[in-house]
Each structure stands twice: as structure tokens, then as C-alpha cells.
């Protein structure tokens, strides 16, 4: 019991941590322990990850409404609100408190409209009203971003981006309501990718030239791109295990979305380390996902033996995968520490599965949120190690690509 209380307390701190990761702690808004403004690179990444997570939570909220699962919808609303607060704090850290509150109000209005849209899937009047509210939001957000960025992001470009975000969410809801789960999950992924990229665009505009310069650093770009891919692994694994543990009809599509992310991850490793490494990576990663699904099946069936077998096989994965990455990065990622990190990742995902199976939806959302942000930290560690390893392999200096046969000629050089 004491151990359980300790773990619950730690979980609360992890939730607080997500605010810190966002660049400005929840503590700021209650007037305690104000933190310094985040570095541009951190602020931009926090905006990317939180904005992308918003798209996931908003879609989850809309799907809960469509299914008529009010308990789940209420928990999703709470998660969306916490995510909104994290983004509000980030906006406040960059632009100031007045801007932060204005952002929160208009952002919350669009969450409400999205929820109303999904609640009214069979009510044309409600849908039209929600659409009108969302159109107003698109204009309001565009004005907010154009003004806040002093015109560095045009109103037209901002409005187009907001429109696309809303469009992804409405269309995934339509597809989900029509039980076209493959289409719904395709839009789920597109919405995540769009908002992640939008986070960089907004950050570059709000942070100004110096901030935008920081976002052009190759090391930051790799960190951001790994955070996108690995964060997507978390959100898709969460969605699939939730569908799996309840034997929901959208499981097949959710599982295929996880597989699509796995293929993207393997493609990324191919880019960075070559085809042989990518194949080794994918074999191990596939084992990881398979065992998470096996654990999910064990929970769904109430079979403690299957759960335990999956946990044991995950331990093997954690050791082997840590050794694989440690070797690939010439020891920059210590295998023992990395195995511990992977264990934490797996434990967090399994805690999320357990909570969801037990209909403890708020706890499930907290676990998912913590897992997502934890993966963002892991992405930072990987990016640093990958950059160092591959930097050592980059050619030195320029190329000797000329013999002088046209030297002195008036040519295009």
C-alpha cells in the first residue's frame, strides 16, 4: 500500500513534469516558483509535442463522444484541458500572461466545438453550429498568431493551418462514426504529423529570427524528428492497446497504424545507419510491439500467465535493444542505463493498459501523457548519441571536384 501510494505520488510529479517539459510549469500560473523562459529549441519542441498530443487527445475525445462512452469522454476532456494548460503556459513564457489567457480561451472554444461536432454526428443542426464555431476559431487563431508573431506568420497561412487541423479532426470523426476505421486512423496519423510540423512553424514565427535560427540546427532537427516518430509510436500503441484490451472493432486498423509507424521508424534507422541496421532494429522493435500486444491480450483474457510471459519477454527485448543501440552508437548510449529507460517505457505502457482495462480512465490518460513525454526525453538522448556517432563518419572538408580546365574562363562559376 505504501509502495502504491509512493508510486501514485510520483505519478503526480510526472504530470507536473509534463508542464515543465512544456517549457513553463503549471506552478507559474498559481504564482509560485516562476521559471525562466525556455530556450528557443526547447520551447519549440515543447510546442510541437504538445500540439501534436492535442490532436490525439481531441480525436480520442471525439471518438468517446461518438461511442457514447461518457466516462471516457470526461476523462478525455480533462486530459485535453491539461494539455491546453501546458500550451497556454508555453505561450505565456514566450509572449506574456495576457497572450496566454487569450490563447487558452480561444483554444478551449475550439475543443468545445470539436466535442459538440462529434456529439452531433447524427444531428445536422448541431454539426452546422459546431462547424460555424470552428470556422470562427480558425479566424481567431490566425489573427492571434499573426499578431503575436508580428506578421512573421501571415494571417492567411495561419488560417490555412488551423483549417487543416480542424479538418483532420472532423474527417476522422466522420470516418470513425461510419466505422471506416482504417480511414479514421489514417487521418489520426495525418493530424498528428500536421500539428507536430505546425508546432515548428508557430514556434519559429513567435520566437523571431534568433529562435528560428536555433531551429535550423541539424541537431535540433534530428531531435525533433525522432520525437515525432517515437511520440507517434506511443500514441498509436496506446490507441491500439486500448482497442485491443476491450476487443473493440477498430483494433485491426489501430494495429495497422502501429505497424505503419514501425515501418517509418525502420526507414529512419536505414537513413541513419544503413539497411542492415534497420533490419536488426525492426526485428527487435517488432518483438517489443508484439509483446505489448501479448500483454494486452493477457489482460483482456484475465490470464495472469500470459501477462507474466509477455513481461518476461519484454525484459529480453529491453536488454537486447539497449545492447543494439549501444553498439550502434559506439557506447554513447550505455546499455545498462538504456535498458532501464526501456523498462520504464514498457512499464508505463502496461500501467496504461491496466488502468484502461479497469475503466480508470483518468489514470490511463495520465499514464499515456507521461509515457509520451518520457519518450520525448528518450528522443533527445538518442538524437544526441546519433548525431555524435554519425558526425564522426561525415566526410572532412569540401570536395576536390575540379581540375582547372576552365579556370580563368568566363563561366557560370
Amino acid at each position: 500500500m505504501t509502495d502504491s501510494r509512493t508510486r501514485r505520488a510520483l505519478a503526480v510529479f510526472v504530470v507536473v513534469l509534463t508542464g515543465l517539459v512544456a517549457g513553463s510549469s503549471a506552478l507559474d500560473r498559481v504564482g509560485h516558483l516562476p521559471l525562466a523562459a525556455p530556450a528557443p529549441a526547447d520551447a519549440a519542441l515543447a510546442l510541437q509535442t504538445n500540439l501534436a498530443y492535442h490532436s490525439v487527445l481531441a480525436a480520442d475525445l471525439m471518438r468517446s463522444r461518438i461511442r457514447g462512452d461518457e466516462d471516457l469522454a470526461r476523462a478525455a476532456e480533462g486530459a485535453v484541458a491539461r494539455n491546453t494548460d501546458a500550451m497556454r503556459d508555453l505561450v505565456g513564457a514566450v509572449l506574456g500572461d495576457q497572450w496566454a489567457e487569450e490563447f487558452r480561451l480561444l483554444w478551449s472554444a475550439h475543443v468545445t466545438a470539436l466535442s459538440n461536432y462529434s456529439s452531433g454526428v447524427e444531428d445536422p443542426g448541431a454539426r452546422d453550429a459546431a462547424r460555424a464555431a470552428l470556422s470562427t476559431f480558425e479566424g481567431d487563431l490566425a489573427g492571434f498568431l499573426a499578431t503575436g508573431s508580428r506578421g512573421r506568420l501571415s494571417r492567411e497561412a495561419a488560417r490555412a493551418a488551423a483549417y487543416l487541423h480542424v479538418d483532420h479532426l472532423m474527417r476522422q470523426a466522420d470516418a470513425y462514426a461510419a466505422r471506416d476505421y482504417a480511414r479514421a486512423d489514417q487521418l489520426y496519423r495525418e493530424g498528428y504529423a500536421h500539428t507536430f510540423a505546425l508546432g515548428e512553424t508557430i514556434a519559429a514565427a513567435l520566437l523571431g529570427p534568433a529562435g528560428a535560427e536555433a531551429l535550423r540546427e541539424p541537431g535540433w532537427r534530428l531531435r525533433s524528428q525522432l520525437a515525432r516518430l517515437l511520440g507517434e509510436h506511443v500514441v498509436l500503441a496506446v490507441a491500439a492497446t486500448r482497442a485491443g484490451v476491450t476487443n473493440a472493432p477498430d483494433f485491426a486498423a489501430a494495429g495497422e497504424a502501429v505497424n505503419a509507424n514501425t515501418r517509418d521508424l525502420a526507414g529512419a534507422i536505414d537513413t541513419l545507419f544503413g539497411a542492415a541496421a534497420a533490419q536488426g532494429f525492426q526485428s527487435l522493435w517488432a518483438d517489443h510491439v508484439d509483446q505489448l500486444m501479448a500483454y494486452t491480450g493477457g489482460v483482456a483474457a484475465g490470464d495472469a500467465g500470459r501477462r507474466e510471459a509477455a513481461v518476461n519477454r519484454l525484459k529480453a527485448f529491453e536488454r537486447e535493444f539497449a545492447a543494439f543501440l549501444s553498439t550502434a552508437t559506439a557506447g554513447r548510449l550505455p546499455a545498462t542505463a538504456l535498458a532501464g529507460t526501456l523498462l520504464t517505457h514498457d512499464q508505463m505502457l502496461m500501467a496504461q493498459i491496466d488502468a484502461y482495462a479497469g475503466k480508470q480512465y483518468e489514470q490511463a490518460h495520465d499514464s499515456a501523457y507521461s509515457t509520451y513525454h518520457h519518450m520525448g526525453e528518450v528522443a533527445g538522448d538518442l538524437a544526441l548519441a546519433f548525431s555524435g556517432t554519425l558526425g564522426d563518419r561525415a566526410p572532412a572538408g569540401g570536395s576536390q571536384t575540379g581540375y582547372g580546365g576552365t579556370a580563368g574562363h568566363h563561366g557560370p562559376r
Partner: protein, 201 residues
């Protein structure tokens, strides 16, 4: 300092410790697992992870119609001194095979000579490329990828932007490199490089 302040500070300190470790050591609270699905076959039991992916084939030909460039592509690595290999044939460009392939999510690099000892070579016209120019690459599996020139720069070889050109990212892009600037008759090399940056079309 009030109790609330103390509490928040304690929370922040612990949270900062967790951040500092970069990797969380606490597992989230665990609910007692309960069967969640009604009896019957579980869809999750039939799940199988993807164990293959669509690899991008190696590049075999580069075409830039606007500049009259149409060349086979050889494969390049690094010299023993760590510098990049260059094509042995001035009439043919080469792809840096230790980096990403064109079309993969990363910066692919293709190099070609600006001239031979007697006249223009395959990348003589590279500095004339303007933003928007179409660049296409044939791949060994019969497919192709297309890019549009985004810009170019001429840099002294002594300050070559290695990170900008080679550093790993996961954004598909292409760099075309040749020589430029004045010719050093002592070293028999040009002093500068011309780098053309291109993004997916």
C-alpha cells in the same frame, strides 16, 4: 514562505530531478488488471508486428534538364584521410553512399566535377541552377524521385559547412556539390565549393 510555497518547491525539486535524469525511474501507478473484453476470440491475439519496410533503392541516374545535365551515378565513399571521394570520370557524377539515398528521409549528397583538365565537366552548369529548377533521380528499382532547387551557396573549402551538408536529419533533401571560385595553380584545386540545396518536389 508559506506551506503552499514549500509544497510547490518540493514538487518542483522532485520534478527537476526527474527531468535531470532524462529518463524517468518511476513507473506510473498500476491499476489491478481486470479482464476488459467479453469472452470470445480476441482480435489482439491475431496481431503481428510489421517486420519489413519499403526500402528506397540506390540512385542510378541524375537529370536536370534545365541545365543539360543527364548523368549516370557512381558510388562514392571516403578517402583514407577522411575527405569525400570524387568521381574518377569528370563526365559522370557520384552519390555519397555512406549517407542517405535520394528519397530517403535525410540529406542525400551527389558530387560532380565542374571541369576536367581540358574543359567543362558534368556539373559545369550547376551554378546556373535557380530556385524551383527540377531535379530528377532514377533509382535502381525503376522508380524515381524528384526535387526542386531551393537555393545555393558558394563557400571556401576551408570553411565547408559539414553539418549543413552531411549532418543526419530525417527530412528528405538533396545536396549537389561541385567546385567554384578561383583556381589555385599551386595546389591544382579550386578554392571554393558550390552547394545546391534541393527539397522534394
Amino acid at each position: 514562505m508559506g506551506r503552499a510555497d514549500l509544497l510547490w518547491r518540493a514538487v518542483a525539486v522532485l520534478a527537476a530531478l526527474l527531468v535531470g535524469g532524462s529518463t524517468l525511474t518511476a513507473s506510473a501507478p498500476r491499476a489491478e488488471p481486470v479482464p476488459a473484453a467479453p469472452p470470445g476470440p480476441l482480435a489482439v491475439d491475431s496481431f503481428r508486428s510489421a517486420r519489413s519496410y519499403a526500402a528506397v533503392a540506390a540512385p542510378v541516374r541524375l537529370r536536370i534538364p534545365a541545365a543539360g545535365i543527364d548523368t549516370a551515378l557512381g558510388s562514392l565513399g571516403r578517402n583514407p584521410d577522411g575527405t569525400v571521394e570524387v568521381p574518377t570520370d569528370p563526365a559522370e557524377a557520384g552519390w555519397f553512399a555512406e549517407g542517405p539515398r535520394p528519397g530517403q528521409p535525410g540529406p542525400a549528397v551527389i558530387l560532380g566535377h565542374v571541369d576536367s583538365r581540358t574543359g567543362p565537366a558534368v556539373f559545369y552548369a550547376l551554378p546556373t541552377l535557380r530556385p524551383g529548377t527540377l531535379v530528377t533521380i532514377d533509382l535502381s528499382d525503376g522508380t524515381g524521385v524528384a526535387f526542386r532547387v531551393a537555393g545555393q551557396q558558394r563557400v571556401a573549402k576551408t570553411s565547408f559547412p559539414t553539418d549543413e551538408v552531411y549532418a543526419p536529419t530525417l527530412r528528405p533533401s538533396l545536396r549537389l556539390i561541385t567546385c567554384g571560385g578561383t583556381f589555385d595553380h599551386t595546389s591544382r584545386h579550386y578554392r571554393d565549393n558550390v552547394i545546391v540545396y534541393a527539397d522534394p518536389a
